[in-house]
Symmetry: C2
Subunit: 344 residues, 2 copies
Amino acid sequence: MILKNDLILRAAKGEDIERYPVWLMRQAGRILPEYREVRASLSGFKELVETPERAAEVTIQPVDLLGVDAAIIFSDILVVPEAMGLPYQMIESKGPWFENTVRTELDLKKVEFDFDVEDRLAYVLDAIKITNKELNGRVPLIGFAGAPWTILCYMVEGHGSKTFSESRKLLYTNPTLAHELLSRITKVTIQYLKAQIKAGAHMVQLFDSWAGILGTEQYAEFGLKYLEEIASAITEVPVTLFSKGAITSVEALAKLDCNTVGLDWNMDLVKIREQVGESRTLQGNLDPCALYSSHEEVQNLTNKLLDSFSSKRHIVNLGHGVYPDVDPEKVKTFVNTVKNYKIK
Amino acid sequence: MILKNDLILRAAKGEDIERYPVWLMRQAGRILPEYREVRASLSGFKELVETPERAAEVTIQPVDLLGVDAAIIFSDILVVPEAMGLPYQMIESKGPWFENTVRTELDLKKVEFDFDVEDRLAYVLDAIKITNKELNGRVPLIGFAGAPWTILCYMVEGHGSKTFSESRKLLYTNPTLAHELLSRITKVTIQYLKAQIKAGAHMVQLFDSWAGILGTEQYAEFGLKYLEEIASAITEVPVTLFSKGAITSVEALAKLDCNTVGLDWNMDLVKIREQVGESRTLQGNLDPCALYSSHEEVQNLTNKLLDSFSSKRHIVNLGHGVYPDVDPEKVKTFVNTVKNYKIK
């Protein structure tokens, strides 16, 4: 199927673009009343993730309603540990909760790493196929997975945490086990991303949500190493790496075999552009809270961000997922400001 | 009273030292069974904070039991908003909870900023006096307060948060109100720190726990500005500024009128030393999770940190508060490794 809008793919590959492409992390989600309606008709978040037709429906909503230049498949990074035999619940206003965790060699033995990803995660792949069929080439579809370090964090901790000290403890008490687990997560993640691409994902993003809790050396050893393995293995489509909070590692991250580096709103885009030159596309990085401003101020802040670009290698996004209580009209102002901006 | 061990004060002032001083953030707390015993005999955390004799007792415990080179008064940064008329509860395993928040001009009007700090926070000042009497000059006593930005975070949000998006929202929707609130918190904080010094604190530290959630520009405007005001006003004793997570602002932070800059474990101590030269003392910054290692590895990691110092201007600490499930014996290994280290 021929894409009518392939702006984001060209931007990712460093090809020429007429204007900057724009999308938002968590664009399919609670900011849209239309999403909340679908969500309310089901038993919960997980049923939505696991029902391909409905997942496809909410994936497409922001394309129709917000006018973004890409869809991202509605899913969750935790489907991977679940497929490995660690089921989780999503508890309202508390977040994910795993019954079993992986903290010892014995725990590791109980985890399945050798299974048919296309079978066990068929619901995600089906959602991708349905989405593409219904999008009919309007915009590209982004596939994604959690980075191995972040997936390890949940598998070891069993739930969200401010410090993930249980996970970080493992790096000191049993680094061999940590590497073994990371290595196995990496293998499954490569299979999973390749399956998403086969199903129709036009580009893929790795989310390393908890990158920022590791010091530079530890992140190189337990984070970047495995991101590199994945990024090198994915040759079919452009790859985006987003290591939230890894301010001291972003230069090293940009050296990995990827097309695009996602920046959070604390990262200095201008400085990072100087460091990476034209070798990588940068994605981001408006402060998600900027969308709480007036429409005029959203325009100003967005234009200020765009004015700071000295290159065409940019995909515009927030520096983090859009917050659930943001007015969708403000998101439209953000999107339209980017679309109306003339590249210098 | 003459101090028998004034190592930390000399290190803070950049004077000569025989060995590096060492203490731990949250050293008076749940890691010690002796602390948990005192805590269990009372109705809760707040009763302990508000009972000077018991607060003094747990303040001194780590001096006796861990051999640290300083005591830090057992208290909480939230006593300040409470003194302003915003009472809070400390909910077990959830954290602080304020009934009322400050999000509008009307809310601000209900907050008290003009009160007698020495009267309303007498319980902290009494705890300081009792502690010094009982310490009898063995080590200096550190006083502290929350930085205005972090206090604003709690006053606006009303509780802990991963994103503090309500607080950050205010910076976009009503920056005038944010500055008004920050400015008033700053004035009270100066009075409070001066009262602590008058009561006997030998040095003071400002904790900006949520510095890292702001981008560089916003932190300069809403964070550093007020830290500077406080640091400049405190001329009596050495001042330490600790802005957790503010990796992109630490160079600017070090330029403020302080003696010591606290570093979290993600901050690159060697690079920051190059930036600040000999103008400031650096405090930190072993990863708190390093204390989960074996005794031998704790020694190795501590020695590695100490070997990275190229100056005498260091106060050794963790890069964050010690985690509650750390073995106190490991803390002793950390402390003793520092004490036995010969400065090159």
